[in-house]
Amino acid sequence: MGMGIDVRNKMAKRAAEEISSGMVVNLGIGIPSLVPNHLPNDMNVMFHAENGIVGMGESPVKGHEDENLCNAGGFPVTVLPGSSYCDSAVAFGMIRRGRVDLTILGSLQVNKNGDLANWIVPGKKVPGMGGAMELAQKARRVAVLMNHTDKNGNPKIVDSCTLPLTASNCVDLVVTDLAVFKIIDRSLILAERFAPYTIAEITAKTACDFSIAEDIRVIDY
């Protein structure tokens, strides 16, 4: 387990590698919210929230929350120098216009073409898509952070999503607890594996074909 950071933070750390200075980034709830912890301090990244914030900083210290300063998930946040508030229509205009460089989302399933299924939780009634479709369809790059298998051990990377799609052909990168896949021209490529998982183990837990990068990287942090 390398330096001993937990699995969720390993995944977040890998996702953080997708971020470079100057980017506008939208983070989903859950594991993606850990990503900022793994960025260098001198990196100038603008975190975007659909409700209408650009330039979010870290979570406020407990007791110093501002009820009128929350992210799209409803959790209190802070803002950094250079931040701005806007209405929600403009916040989504940024997404549709291609001004959001990267979104890092959780998902229920991803298929080998890059279809994303993350809006209907099995067994629950339709809770609504919120802003998931805009982000999936319109962010310049879509990275998915999710466990490789569900609670019952079923693969979440599949040949064809069985759950209702959020958007098709939108996912560029999938980071799981086992591996990192790239999806290029609708083809799934195993690009990296987390130590100590073997290609065989990853293959066994993935429900579709994929190609394997020649220079496959082994991540051991």
Binding site: A49, E50, N51, G52, I53, E65, D66, E67, N68, L69, C70, N71, A72, G73, G74, F75, P76, V77, V79, Y85, C86, D87, S88, A89, A91, F92, G93, I95, R96, K124, K125, V126, P127, G128, M129, G130, G131, A132, M133, E134, Q137, K138, P164, L165, A167, S168
Partner: protein
């Protein structure tokens, strides 16, 4: 309301006066995002006056006891147009029981539909969800330069309610940080728009540059007593 405040436009009013504009079966649009930026006193006014059969339009259904959720979880709405109801399980139950009709719109599309209504436009064309079975169902499509778009119609309401940080007697509004969210859009879309303001300030004390919602769109301003619910994160 500060009793010394001039009221040259007659827009400053009491909650009781505001409630005269609410009636059963009306279409009501509300500002707020997960309850943040929703007007607490007006929402309580709806409950106290026992307004029923509402058609509600807004980003989401809040939480069961937060924001517009208080109205929905007491069964006062017959229909909701929103982007999600995930944070309000009571809304989900009512939907399952057939007691609440829900029309889902992708969040960015919904905000543009509200803005379109507010700006006097008939619709907007967007490609968000155009290939999506659920989103595109029963919607008209139009092809522009070889690309398909959904025709997403503008939304207006009998009454819009918003929550502002400050209002002046003309109804010019500024908001507080992310509590701005859908409020400026909702304010424009009401046939009659009521702003609940944390503070009502004299005419001329807001910088014309900083005003987010021009008072042109606001018909009534009432003073707020502040949020009276406990936030989910608390």
């Amino acid at each position: 309301m500060n009793s010394k405040m001039d009221n040259p436009f007659g827009k400053i009013a009491t909650l009781k006066q505001a409630m005269e504009h609410f009636h059963d079966g009306m279409t009501l649009m509300f500002g707020g995002f997960g309850g943040v930026g929703s007007p607490p006193c007006l929402i309580d006014g709806i409950l106290e006056k026992n307004i029923k059969n509402l058609v509600l339009i807004g980003n989401d259904t809040g939480f069961p006891e937060i924001g517009i959720g208080k109205v929905i979880s007491r069964g006062r709405a017959k229909k909701v147009i929103a982007s999600h109801i995930g944070s309000n399980p009571v809304a989900g139950e009512l939907m399952t029981q057939g007691k609440l009709e829900v029309e889902f719109s992708p969040q960015g599309t919904l905000t543009e539909r509200i803005r379109a209504g507010g700006m006097g436009l008939g619709a907007i064309l967007t490609d968000v969800g155009v290939d999506h079975e659920f989103v595109s169902k029963d919607k008209r499509k139009m092809n522009l330069n070889g690309k398909d778009y959904l025709v997403e119609t503008g939304l207006t309401a009998d009454v819009s309610i918003v929550y502002a940080k400050k209002a002046d007697p003309y109804g010019n509004l500024v908001f507080d940080k992310s509590a701005r969210n859908t409020n400026p859009l909702v304010a424009m879309a009401g046939n009659f728009t009521i702003a609940e303001a944390e503070e009502i300030v004299p005419l001329g004390s807001l910088d014309p540059e900083e005003i987010v919602t021009p008072g042109v769109f606001v018909d009534m301003v009432i003073p707020s007593e502040g949020v009276n619910w406990k936030w989910a994160w608390e």
